[in-house]
């Protein structure tokens, strides 16, 4: 069922997975090195994008379309995390 790497769709899927794992490594570097707190917060956004990409690649690889809900839930949770971290950052300076 899983297409081999020498067919066109299999090559595209493997290429997408390689690109997304390189994106994970870049996000990890920025998370470890990032000089300020917002540098570490915006890593959430890129990691969520890469995770949704991996989930979509997995959907095309295996044909299990139920996992589209995973992409929806990740998008929801990331928005909540962004808003919460933005409010927390603002409350570190203004006390009310």
């Amino acid at each position: 069922m899983i297409p081999a790497a020498d067919t066109p769709i299999g090559f595209a899927l493997h290429f997408a997975l390689v690109c997304l794992s390189l994106a994970y490594f870049a996000a990890l570097y920025r998370l470890l090195k990032g000089p300020t707190i917002p540098d570490r917060i915006i890593v959430i956004d890129l990691v969520a994008s890469a995770t949704i990409g991996v989930v979509l690649t997995f959907i095309i690889l295996t044909g299990k379309t139920i996992f589209i809900n995973v992409a929806l839930v990740i998008a929801l949770i990331v928005f909540m995390g962004n808003v919460a971290f933005a409010k927390y950052l603002k409350k570190t300076v203004c006390d009310d």
Partner: protein, 130 residues
């Protein structure tokens, strides 16, 4: 025929997420990093979702994917805007070649208030930042 559209959109989406990560890695400033990450990342995810929608040619999947794309387009700029505003309020510096900063003249960093212009040339601190 449809397989080539799937290949095109899948590759474009993955490459755009990679470009977003490169922007997150190489940009000199928190605001530029945020811009690169959110814009290119959203476009990459939307393109990969379109690839999935073409691959499974089904109406329920169309609805799911349209929901995810609309939700991403609505919420990702809002989150990035809130984060950029917070990082401007806590006083993170911009890149030295940045030409325009609209909030610099209107926000008072000492007592955290917005200045509103009552008359011509007169400043008044009355809006308390929540």
């Amino acid at each position: 025929m449809a397989i080539y559209f799937v290949l095109f959109f899948l590759t474009i989406g993955a490459v755009f997420i990679l470009i977003a990560s490169i922007g997150l890695l190489k940009m000199p400033d928190i605001y530029l990093r945020m811009s690169a990450s959110t814009i290119a990342g959203t476009f990459g995810v939307a393109s990969m979702l379109v690839a999935v929608a073409i691959h499974f040619y089904d109406f329920g999947i169309f609805l799911h994917i349209a929901g995810v794309i609309i939700f991403l387009i609505l919420t990702v700029p809002v989150g990035a805007h809130m984060l950029g505003r917070s990082s401007h309020i806590i006083g993170l510096p911009m890149w030295h070649k940045t030409v325009r900063d609209d909030m610099k003249d209107k926000y008072d960093h000492e007592n955290h208030t917005f200045k509103t212009f009552k008359k011509e040339g007169e400043l008044k601190n009355d809006t308390k930042e929540a």
